[in-house]
Structure formats: structure tokens, C-alpha cells
């Protein structure tokens, strides 16, 4: 499938659910969906062309008032990025693991890094932060800053 066919598929099958379908570069498609439609769109894509899509990663970013989450899908002809936004005050998101079981690591990473709450995630333990990581410290939020620990160089006569 090339870009035009994918765009057509998105605009016909998921009309009303997807917005801002753009094709900024060849083999790159970005689109925005509402959080509530996310599972339906991803599941629908998987049904429409089975065996073609795979989840490359999920990246989050902090936009201030809201969090943006981008689901990067790879396929046989490039890359599809599904964007969704959730408010910072209520960062709850449905897990996509029922459709894509391999997403669990990325969702756990989102929980650790941005403090999002992923509903119905099969394995909610922290993934990348250590066991004694202080609660409510979400490093990739923009308001989280760190003090650079002064580096002690042992030895030396001066």
C-alpha cells in the first residue's frame, strides 16, 4: 500500500474519527484521534490490513497543559503516526495491549516518565525507574528539573 491508498483508507473507513491527516514527507503520515477512539482506530487498522502494521514505539511529550502521545506504527511502506492528546490534570489513557500485546513495555515507560495512568494495563509495575524512585517524580515532564550533582574527582594534591 502506498501513501495515497493509506490516506484513502483512513478517510473512508475512519471518517469522523480521525482528524488532521497529513502527509508531510513521503512515507510519513500523521493523524490525530480522540483518546476514546484510539482503540477502535488501531483495531480497525489491524483488521483492515492484517499483518501489515506493527507498533514501533509510543512517544510522549509534554505540551504544558496537555500531554501528546504519538503511536508510531511501521508498515511495509513507511510509517504511520497516530497522535492523541490527554489533559495534564487527568492523564488517563486506555491501554492498547488488547489489540497490540507488544505495546506493554512502551506503556509502562509512559507511566514512569510522564505519570500517565494507563487503564487496564496487564503489568503496571515500574519499568525503567528504580525501586526506590520517589513517588510523583516524572522525569520527562518539562517542569521536572534536576540538580546536577557536583562531580567529585578523587585524589589530587591541589
Amino acid at each position: 500500500m502506498n501513501d495515497a491508498q493509506i490516506l484513502e483508507l483512513l478517510n473512508t473507513r475512519f471518517a469522523g474519527k480521525v482528524a488532521d491527516v497529513t502527509n508531510p514527507a513521503v512515507r510519513r503520515i500523521f493523524l490525530t484521534v480522540e483518546p476514546k477512539d484510539l482503540l477502535a482506530v488501531i483495531g480497525g487498522l489491524k483488521e483492515a490490513v492484517p499483518g501489515m502494521w506493527y507498533l514501533a514505539t509510543i512517544s510522549g511529550s509534554d505540551l504544558g497543559e496537555s500531554f501528546e502521545i504519538v503511536y508510531h506504527f511501521g508498515h511495509d511502506h513507511g510509517n504511520l503516526n497516530i497522535r492523541t492528546r490527554i489533559p495534564r490534570s487527568h492523564p488517563h489513557l486506555e491501554s492498547i495491549t488488547p489489540v497490540i500485546p507488544g505495546a506493554v513495555l512502551y506503556e509502562r515507560e509512559l507511566q514512569d516518565m510522564f505519570g500517565m495512568v494507563i487503564e487496564h494495563i496487564p503489568d503496571p509495575r515500574p519499568l525503567v525507574t528504580s525501586d526506590d524512585w520517589p513517588a510523583n517524580n516524572f522525569p520527562l515532564r518539562k517542569d521536572w528539573t534536576f540538580e546536577r550533582v557536583p562531580e567529585i574527582i578523587p585524589g589530587g594534591k591541589k
Binding site: I153, P154, G155, G156, K157, K158
Partner: protein, 140 residues
């Protein structure tokens, strides 16, 4: 599948010279463009701080020693250097004031001994004539 398919190759090497090098006693040559440790040619440095800005490891420090003579001090912290040679690429002068040498045995017991600094008078940018007496910075 065949039994002992590797054996001929192994036996062939039994009386051959080993491929490994008896390292601390025998040393290998490094190629021409090897990136060793960075050092400064103080007579060409114009103290533009491009290397300091681009150094990914923050290993270069340039400070002004005296205002009157335009005297600068450059410190290279070799204990932080990652040998990427970006400082050489960023250096705008011709010939380059920063260069990499070919040393690779640069481990030390004390990180403080890895610090190297040069104090020098800034060379003027190309348009103006070169200073008559460039004060050569000797590494301290």
C-alpha cells in the same frame, strides 16, 4: 552435518604464528587519521570559544586571564574528553588551532594529572596581520 568440520582449520594454525600481539611489549601502529587527545596550537587560537560551545563532554574551558593584554587560558580536561574531535571541526582558523595527536595509551592513576592548560595571547583574526611575537604557551 559432518563430524570434525572445524578440525583441519584448527590443525592448520597449530604451528602458525599467533594472530594476537604481545601487547605491552609489542605495539600496533595506529592509522594516519587516528583520533587521540586534543591539543592546542596557542599561536593560532583566536579564543572564539567555538570548541568550548560545541564540546559534547564539556571538557574544554576557556577563561580570560587579563583584560589588558587579551590573555586567555585554555584548559582541556582529558579525563572528560570523549575523543570525538568536534573541537577540531568547530575550529574556524586556518591552520587549525586544535589538533588531535596519535597517543592512545592515555590512562592515568590520577584524574588530576590529565588536565592540560595553555596560557596565551589571543591571535588576531585573519584580516589583521599576525602579532609579531606570539607568546608560545607551554603546557604546564
Amino acid at each position: 552435518m559432518r563430524v570434525a568440520v572445524f578440525l583441519p582449520e584448527l590443525l592448520r594454525h597449530l604451528f602458525k604464528k599467533p594472530n594476537t600481539v604481545d601487547y605491552p611489549f609489542v605495539k600496533l601502529e595506529v592509522p594516519k587519521g587516528f583520533r587521540g587527545t586534543p591539543f592546542l596550537h596557542p599561536e593560532t587560537c583566536i579564543a572564539c570559544r567555538a570548541c568550548e560551545r560545541d564540546c559534547p563532554a564539556e571538557a574544554i574551558e576557556i577563561s580570560q586571564v587579563s583584560d589588558v593584554e587579551k590573555k586567555f587560558k585554555m584548559t582541556i580536561h582529558n579525563d572528560r574528553c570523549i575523543h570525538c574531535a568536534q573541537c577540531v571541526d568547530s575550529c574556524p582558523t586556518t591552520p587549525k588551532a586544535m589538533e588531535m595527536d596519535h597517543l592512545y595509551e592515555i590512562a592515568a592513576f590520577d584524574r588530576h594529572t590529565l588536565k592540560k592548560d595553555w596560557t596565551f595571547v589571543r591571535a588576531l583574526p585573519k584580516k589583521e596581520p599576525k602579532p609579531a611575537v606570539p607568546i608560545g604557551g607551554t603546557p604546564t
